[in-house]
């Protein structure tokens, strides 16, 4: 009996601890959650200058005044990247004039192979609003880190390699705040709806 009571007290104490912990976390660590916004918005993305597929420098900073859809990939990618690029093309097409303000940036995680010329050639198959960006390995790593994009070179046989990378599209409002993501394989209706709301944000 005594043992049971002890166990019961311990469980109640544990539960109380969990409740206090969760509440503290919600209030302290995720203040944005109360306002219905996404947490950590202030730290996602940082100003950068990379090289556009035209060969010109291309700079991005928060509060550009335009809504942005930013995603990462590489042209040696056989499935996800062309699929996302194709989907982005159809989404923008479906938005019509609603989507005119949206800037779409495709940032290479494989700058060693993706030269500006290669990106320009590759992206000519997709919507011309999509701007391809590349740069030095150091710059790309910095940008990917700032946007919390995972990427890793994985060796294949015969000296070939592939890149593991985060496949989501990141959306930013004109004021530079994080709007949300479009996941790989997300339903087209949902994606178009998100982009429409982004364009109006």
């Amino acid at each position: 009996m005594t043992t049971l009571s002890a166990v019961r007290y311990a469980l109640w104490a544990l539960l109380a601890g969990v409740v206090i912990g969760v509440t503290a976390a919600a209030l302290g660590l995720f203040p944005g959650a109360q306002k219905g916004t996404v947490s950590g918005t202030a730290t996602l993305g940082a100003p950068f200058t990379l090289t556009a597929m035209t060969g010109e420098p291309y700079s991005w900073e928060p509060a550009t005044g335009a809504p942005h859809a930013i995603f990462f990939g590489f042209t040696f990618c056989p499935d996800v990247c062309p699929t996302t690029l194709y989907e982005m093309t159809t989404w923008l097409d479906r938005l019509g004039s609603d989507g005119e303000s949206i800037k779409a940036l495709f940032i290479s995680v494989d700058p060693e192979r993706d030269t500006p010329e290669k990106l320009a050639n590759y992206l000519s198959a997709f919507d011309d609003r999509i701007i391809g960006l590349t740069g030095s390995r150091e710059d790309i790593d910095k940008v990917a880190g700032d946007f919390r994009i995972y990427h890793k070179r994985v060796e294949l046989d015969d000296g070939d390699y592939t890149m593991d990378h985060t496949a989501s599209v990141l959306l930013f409002k004109p004021d530079g705040s994080f709007f949300g993501t479009i996941a790989y394989g997300e339903d087209a209706e949902t994606a178009v709806d998100k982009l429409r709301r982004l364009a109006r944000s």
């Binding site: 042209t75 499935d79 699929t83 690029l85 590759y122 394989g185």
Partner: protein, 161 residues
Amino acid sequence: MAIIQRSAFVALACAFALSFIALPALANDTLTLKEAWTRATPPGATNGGGFLMITNTGDEADRLTGGSVSGVGKVEIHTMVMDGDVMKMRELPDGLEVPAGETVTLKPGGDHVMFMQLEKPFEEGQMLDVTLTFEKAGDMSTMFMVQPVGATEPKHMHGSN
């Protein structure tokens, strides 16, 4: 009893005769390949994924290990997995098993035939004569139809779309 035997004989004879007719879906004793397709590749792309259905009507598992096609440096069997929101592509060094009595579908976002080192892009509407290599069945040829860049499934393989 005699009727059953005769039917069985006719069926066997038909199967034997059919095996000499060139069918779009190519089959050997146990494996059938169908709905083979790939996508048009963007300019300058050197890789492409191939997809198809492989049905094994035999009693033993077989294994797709690779293949070859003219104008393509090498053909490997790869898989793609999403680990959270991270895309990972890996070679399947031992190939892909096709269990006895089952159909395995290679499709976007999963297992695929990886065409590497393309000499020139795949163009929509083109047909690729691909030889696939199986551990037991050996080499089998099948035509891969090139679908549009963003195709997610084989549309009207035999239709006029």
